[in-house]
């Protein structure tokens, strides 16, 4: 008979920036916390990959107010930001980022003041960072240290949560796979926080880590919680394409552009961004991500791409001394791989980078299901149809703190189910995990995942059509049939076949969620561009909510949540500032 392996007040799933922030806040509110991660604690996920900008209205360089940041966030979000969530990000972000400073993250300083860089979409310099390209690692390390010093937080790596357990509309625990042994684990929790990040692993070209296959969305869907605006996948316009670089994150050129500008050129060596109605690049790095993605892919489509199928990014006009001053050690690492920015441009192309959609939450981070919370990129709605540069880390920490406090409060009042009832609820998930290994299986799960990534890149990427999305649904169904009901693998510790099979099960569900939402939105807005419905349609200034019950999808539209204008009006002092 299976018994309960882990008991806790608050279960945090995912130990990236959002998960660690949630654990710290839940513990700070008096809860006993167990934080699990499918990988190592504080080393996987997206936070650690962040290279530079963290947007927050600190007013260190020029006067600023959170309302200005909020106005820019809403503008970038093309009318779809859930305003209470956007406000939380911008307003509480100020304290969160100051708290990180007090914890010694090491934001870059210019004398006494923090440096705040200008980034696209912001009306003034607003982005703090840690040199050189070290923002994510520094944030992750700072949070890891805080978590490790907290006796109320138990950290457990190599644990993959397979399903949440729901009793009478309330999440009461989870079934997980302990990767180190291959054993199933039963976790009892009074409140659970999903902090598993986004879904960029669904795409062939991505800037994600392996862990970002959207598993938190699948957990939430199967538990009965709804998702919001799943069609909005942000493509980062200038991901590294060629020549092959080993050991660098593909979004590495963004910080170069913040500091040095750089010129985006088509295959003929011409500047092209202004052709699509945006300010010329010589005015600075101002074009937003959705617009740049559009411009690059349209040039490629017109036969004016770079040899590897993207655009050129050139820093040849930047003197070597300037390059060295901005990125000294990085310049040496590039030289070791034969790249000299003073001599030749590199090639870049759009890659899946962030997901604006996600789990629908209230401003307290509670989902549709009692006892279930979400934090960070797993949350949908704060960034609308397009995320403003620098909002992701601010969101991770701010929403993490919020979710941790809310979950701890819930855990104080929540009732635990009896252990034998928990075992009963876990039955189907345990049966799934106990599927015996298939001798000499005929499918390769790693190849099936690669196949799904190719389908999503081709048909559910930055440009979409009804025909392509329909094709994607057929391909998803076909991969689902190949995977079958039983799970391949299951042969002891760290079995990569079983791990991929569990991931693919989630990825297929989430891929379908994105595709169905994209099919329904018959307009183009932000990161969702329909070739068959060009242009924004005012009538579509709506969010889409998606649920999944007993194998059926339920998609509906909802008015965007707004705040009274007077609550978010900018004060006079910062309004008068010109930058």
């Amino acid at each position: 008979m299976k018994t309960v392996n882990i008991e806790t007040d608050v279960l945090v799933i995912g130990a990236g920036g959002a998960g660690m922030s949630a654990a710290i806040a839940a513990s700070g509110s008096g809860a006993k916390v167990v934080m699990v991660d499918r990988s190592l604690i504080g080393r996987g996920g997206a936070t650690i990959m962040a290279q530079m900008t963290v947007a927050v209205a600190l007013g260190e360089q020029v006067p600023d107010a959170w309302q200005r940041h909020y106005a820019d966030t809403l503008k970038a979000g093309r009318g779809l930001c859930s305003e209470p969530l956007a406000r939380l990000l911008c307003e509480s972000g100020v304290d969160a980022i100051r708290q990180m400073d007090r914890w010694g993250v090491g934001w870059a300083r210019d004398g006494e003041r923090l440096v705040q860089a200008q980034a696209p979409g912001h009306d003034r310099p607003r982005c703090v960072y840690v040199d050189y390209l070290n923002t994510g690692p520094a944030v992750a390390k700072t949070l890891r240290t805080q978590v490790a010093q907290d006796d109320r937080i138990q950290r457990l790596g190599d644990i993959l949560v397979v399903d949440l357990l729901v009793e009478q509309g309330q999440v009461v625990g989870a079934v997980a796979l302990h990767l180190t042994t291959g054993d199933a684990l039963l976790i009892q929790a009074s409140a659970t926080i999903v902090a598993t990040g986004g879904l960029t692993r669904l795409y062939k070209r991505n800037s994600a880590s392996l862990n970002m296959g959207g598993d938190g969305y699948a957990l939430a869907l199967r538990a009965g919680a709804r998702l919001i605006d799943m069609e909005f996948v942000q493509f980062f316009p200038i991901g590294h394409l060629a020549p092959r670089l080993v050991g660098f994150d593909p979004i590495m050129w963004d910080p170069f552009r913040y500091k040095l500008g750089g010129r985006l050129l088509n295959g003929l060596g011409e500047e092209f961004v202004e052709k699509y109605g945006h300010a010329a690049e010589r005015e600075g790095y101002t074009v937003t991500r959705d617009a740049a993605t559009y411009a690059i892919l349209k040039e490629v489509e017109a036969g004016r791409g770079s040899p590897a199928g993207g655009a050129y990014l050139s820093f040849q006009h930047v003197p070597e001394a300037t390059l060295r001053k901005a990125f000294g050690p990085i310049i040496d690492k590039l030289a070791a791989q034969g790249i000299d920015l003073t001599k030749a441009p590199i090639e870049v192309a759009p890659i899946a980078h962030y997901h604006m959609g996600g789990i629908r939450v209230g401003v307290d981070m509670s989902t549709d299901i009692e006892g279930l919370y979400a934090a960070g990129e797993a949350v949908g709605g704060a960034n609308g149809a397009n995320r403003l540069s620098g909002n992701a880390i601010t969101e991770a920490i701010t929403f993490g703190f919020q979710a941790g406090r809310s979950a701890a409060a819930h855990a104080r009042s929540g009732q635990r189910v009896a252990a034998d009832r928990l075992v009963e609820l876990a039955g189907p998930a345990l049966a799934l995990l106990e599927t015996a290994p298939v001798p000499a299986p005929s499918i390769n799960v790693a190849a099936l995942i690669a196949g799904l990534q190719a389908v999503m890149q081709t048909h559910v990427g930055p440009f979409r059509t009804e025909a392509g999305l329909g094709r994607a649904l057929e391909e998803i169904a076909s991969i689902k049939r190949k995977l079958g009901e039983a799970l391949p693998g299951g042969d002891g510790p760290q079995d990569p076949v079983r791990l991929d099979a569990l991931d693919l099960r989630n990825m297929l569900l989430v891929a379908e969620a994105v595709t169905r939402s994209a099919l329904a939105r018959r307009e183009s807005r932000g990161a969702h561009q329909r070739d068959d419905f060009p242009g924004m349609d005012e009538a579509w200034t709506l969010n889409q909510l998606l649920g999944w019950r007993d194998g059926h999808w339920m998609l509906e539209t909802r008015a965007v949540e707004r705040l009274p204008v007077e609550d978010v009006a900018t004060d006079d002092e910062s309004q008068g500032v010109r930058t």
Binding site: L40, G136, V246, A446, A450, P493, P496
Partner: protein
């Protein structure tokens, strides 16, 4: 396929096994250009030849997660940083000073972050 026909072919001789069980060496042949880094090579093997080969990584190419440590030709490397040489016979093995879990996956998590490892502080 043989090396005479494909001078650019990459050969990976990978030490495999579960826990403390017997170790066997499995040879994988990758066509020229299939992979630049060792991690690319191992991922290519899983997608094209053998999805049962176990190795761990998280960030793929950024050298941020520090999970993909293993031995390449006897030296400790990050698989995402180590470059493969066309035409060379490489040996790939798990870390020598950590317990093997499966194939190239070693027990690298700090003791305090492992489930069921209370009191097991042999590596701290």
């Amino acid at each position: 396929m043989s090396k005479q026909d494909n001078p650019g072919m990459i050969c990976l001789n990978v030490q495999r096994g579960v826990g403390g069980s017997e170790t066997r060496v499995q040879r994988y042949e990758l066509p020229e250009g299939a992979a630049a880094s060792l991690l690319d090579g191992l991922r290519w093997v899983r997608e094209h030849l053998d999805d049962t080969l176990a190795f761990r990584y998280s960030c793929i190419n950024a050298n941020a997660c520090k999970e993909c440590m293993m031995l390449l030709d006897g030296k400790v490397v990050y698989a995402c940083l180590a470059r493969l040489q066309p035409g060379v016979e490489h040996t790939v093995a798990p870390l020598a000073n950590k317990a093997r879990i499966r194939d190239l996956v070693s027990e690298i998590a700090p003791v305090k972050e492992r489930f069921g490892a209370a009191g097991d502080d042999d590596e701290q």
